[in-house]
Subunit: 472 residues, 2 copies
């Protein structure tokens, strides 16, 4: 079979850059670098991911809102750490028509400073809490590093949940729920991930603590797909988000956020794809089944009828199917749909029809089998399940094989992927290790687990493990 | 029953301004005027409208895309008429972080100038045509007139379809399809409307001609909900959108666009609402049925069980239902859900349950009836149909009673709503009539119909009718 020009197994980064356009996910030729066009296939795929997120939000009683894109400078500047963190990477609107604005606005890099002045108006009493909201919007960050489709862009398709609570404990419960949401969501996407408690010096601007959701890409670098933040009352104080408690006193809310972005799509492409192109998990594939008629002269009608009949049966089961009736060879069709990662291909030809069977081919492993026409729908549903499990297992293997818990810098040297080393709790030691490994500090595992070894830098007793990796 | 502070029947504009916030559709207190916060109920309502639009797009083979928000100044300035039309009402981004941008960007007021440079890359041959795309995004216009929620805002929730065709005739077919889409969509929303062919001096910047979709609001003013534009090759020439025809020659595409906005929601609120609040058409109501348990001591369980059981039956039929179990009086609950326009209320109490019946109340006309428990779901579905028809009829009556075809300025004087007068085809005469009526020229009816009368201004023979109205 024809394959992409660059092989994933040879040059992952180049393969990635090529496949995102070859598979019609996006167009990078838009005249602003890092702001790409979502093409129909890519946008549909992203919409299916969004829908999984929305389903989780509905299940957990979050309400969808939509806040304005523009934030006045004065709203933005109320929380000091936040402005320090984001001030240099926002876009500024200074003029409307020919007029200079009295106050500059910025394009949201994230929506804390748009939402919190309003939360302060919405929340009056404990009866208004918890407030659980989310939105799926475009956000903007002025990236100076090299851009990469879906992974490092300047206009970001973004999910952000924002919640307000009566106290720290209730906010902690939200974070537990967020972690469960992440587990269910990334299970559906066949993406094994790790939670890392980010180090103090690399937590979100304004957060009390930050938990990141990281996956390992085939390049050996980790990709952060999302983060969950405990804010305590760090924002509610400057933004006056207070409530009247049952005892009549007024207290600041405790807040959390949960953010994810189109990077999820980047991870799907990178982790599941192969030399032939994308491999989409059945849950989000824009087309789950492609049906290819195998035409022989004089047998067109019987074949097309069988294709249409299967299509109808699948549609009834809410399976996203497509019959490819284009006037080209089956081989060309296989190539196109393999490139686009359609999980299952069904081939229907006159000889098989005589035997009352069709051919089923799995995209992930190329496995081919004959399926009785009567069982086709049931078999397909079972195959989806197996494909999902196998995709997850393969990705889990990649993650496990490239996660190394070692005790000394000598052992760490030359290892690829995620490296866990004992940590004494001192920032300088972690930064020294970053230097030696030419990587970044990911953070501590959230299930801490005691570490009885000593810090490989200062030799002091290490209370915990710390993770390092090269990162996108 | 309690009602809104301001009555729709007394002061429509004030009632409108009040109800959009009272019914939790939006919050106008965001610190940038004209950029409002979508609250959960309003956003859900808008999402249902968007879904109807998406369904129409799928039906007609349009592909959803998503283009960047920011447009470089040089892309924007390629079509002369367009920049004349929009240049003074766009927002400019001049800085990223602390750096001044080499080239300014603007926030899209509409996406022609973002899309067309890419269409020029996408389209190669006649086989790529027709190209039918759409997106649902936020757009921005620097409105200097008084803002009004959903009707005149500065960040606009916007639908835009853009199509490319081999020639003028094929583009005309698209416009025919667009008109059919509009008819189906506004039927679902129970909104009768008129198509007007905009006069030359008021067509879209860059269009060959523009057809507007206008509704009549209870204030007597018309509200433009959308427009359909024939561009011919006005954009494809400056943007180089060419294709190779079957005969090997290269030709510019002919293009159309179809735009609509959150104004649709403004029309729903304004046209269907009443002194008690919103009245939502069943097709888009976030909650279609509210079930109110009527509690008597000792009978709680039997009532709640009956409510839950009905809820489950409705859910199975994909009907959006809600059981209001709050600890407050039925009267308070009625008030809240009437305010929010839930089309049907079901009351379930122990006495009715003994008779195996429930009470059904229509929001639009207050009609109350007893329904056998066995027939509840079927009756509800029938009621939805009747409510939709009645909402449409009431709105149609408003439109018809306030549309006046007259021949002279004397007859026109003092009339409210839409006034049709003979027109000679001369711009000056129409502008003179605008002056006299203190209104705007809407355009000609698209089903022209001969006019044998003479222009009320210059007395020359009028070949056509022209419509005038006060407009939002």
């Amino acid at each position: 079979m024809p394959e992409t020009k660059v092989k994933k197994t040879q040059d992952f980064n180049e393969w990635y850059n090529e496949i995102v356009e070859l598979a019609d996910l996006c167009d990078k030729r838009y005249p602003i670098k890092g702001m790409n066009v979502w093409r129909p296939y890519g946008w549909k795929l992203m919409s299916h991911i969004d829908q999984l997120i929305r389903d989780e939000m509905i299940k957990t009683d979050h309400q969808e809102v939509c806040f304005p894109l523009c934030i006045p400078e004065s709203s933005f500047k109320k929380e000091e750490e936040h402005i320090k963190g984001f001030g240099n990477e926002v876009y500024w609107i200074t003029h409307a028509g020919l007029n200079k604005l009295e106050e500059k606005w910025l394009l949201r890099p994230t929506s804390e400073t748009a939402m919190y002045p309003m939360f302060s108006l919405w929340i009056r009493s404990h009866a208004d809490l918890p407030l659980k909201t989310y939105q799926i919007v475009n956000t903007f960050r002025y990236e100076t590093k090299q851009t990469r489709a879906f992974i490092r862009v300047r206009e970001i398709h973004f999910f952000e949940a924002h919640t307000c609570h009566v106290d720290f404990e209730d906010a902690e419960k939200q974070i537990t729920e967020d972690k469960e949401i992440a587990k269910r969501l990334f299970d559906d996407l066949c993406l094994p991930f790790i939670f890392c408690k980010r180090p103090e010096w690399d937590k979100f601007a304004g957060a009390f603590y930050t938990i990141s959701i990281d996956v390992l890409m085939p390049s050996g670098k980790t990709l952060q797909l999302g983060s969950i933040h405990q804010y305590q009352d760090n924002f509610s104080k400057p933004y006056n988000i207070n409530y009247e408690a049952e005892d009549g006193t007024h207290k600041p809310c405790h807040q959390t956020t949960y953010g994810m972005s189109e990077r999820i799509l980047g991870a799907l492409i990178g982790i599941h794809g192969d030399n032939k192109g994308l491999v989409m998990p059945p849950m989000v594939a824009p087309i789950q089944i492609v049906i290819i008629p195998i035409i022989f002269k004089g047998k067109e009608k019987i074949v097309f009828d069988a294709c249409d009949s299967l299509y109808k049966k699948l549609k009834k089961e809410n399976i996203r199917a497509h019959v490819d009736k284009r006037d080209t060879t089956p081989g060309n069709k296989y190539y196109d749909w393999e490139l686009k990662g359609v999980p299952v291909r069904i081939e229907i030809g006159p000889r098989d029809l005589e035997k009352k069977q069709v051919v089923l081919v799995r995209r992930d492993n190329g496995e081919k089998k004959f399926v009785s026409q009567n069982d086709t729908v049931k078999t397909i549903i079972d195959e989806f399940d197996m494909i999902s499990k196998d995709l997850f297992s393969a990705a889990k293997k990649l993650l496990d094989e490239n996660t190394h818990r070692v005790k000394t810098m000598e052992e760490a040297e030359g290892l690829k992927g995620i490296i866990e080393l004992p940590w004494c709790g001192n920032e300088d030691c972690a930064l020294e290790i970053e230097n030696i490994l030419d990587g970044n500090t990911l953070g501590e595992p959230i299930k801490k687990g005691e570490c009885k070894d000593s810090c490989p830098v200062c030799s002091k007793p290490a209370g915990t493990w710390m993770r390092y990796a090269k990162t996108y």
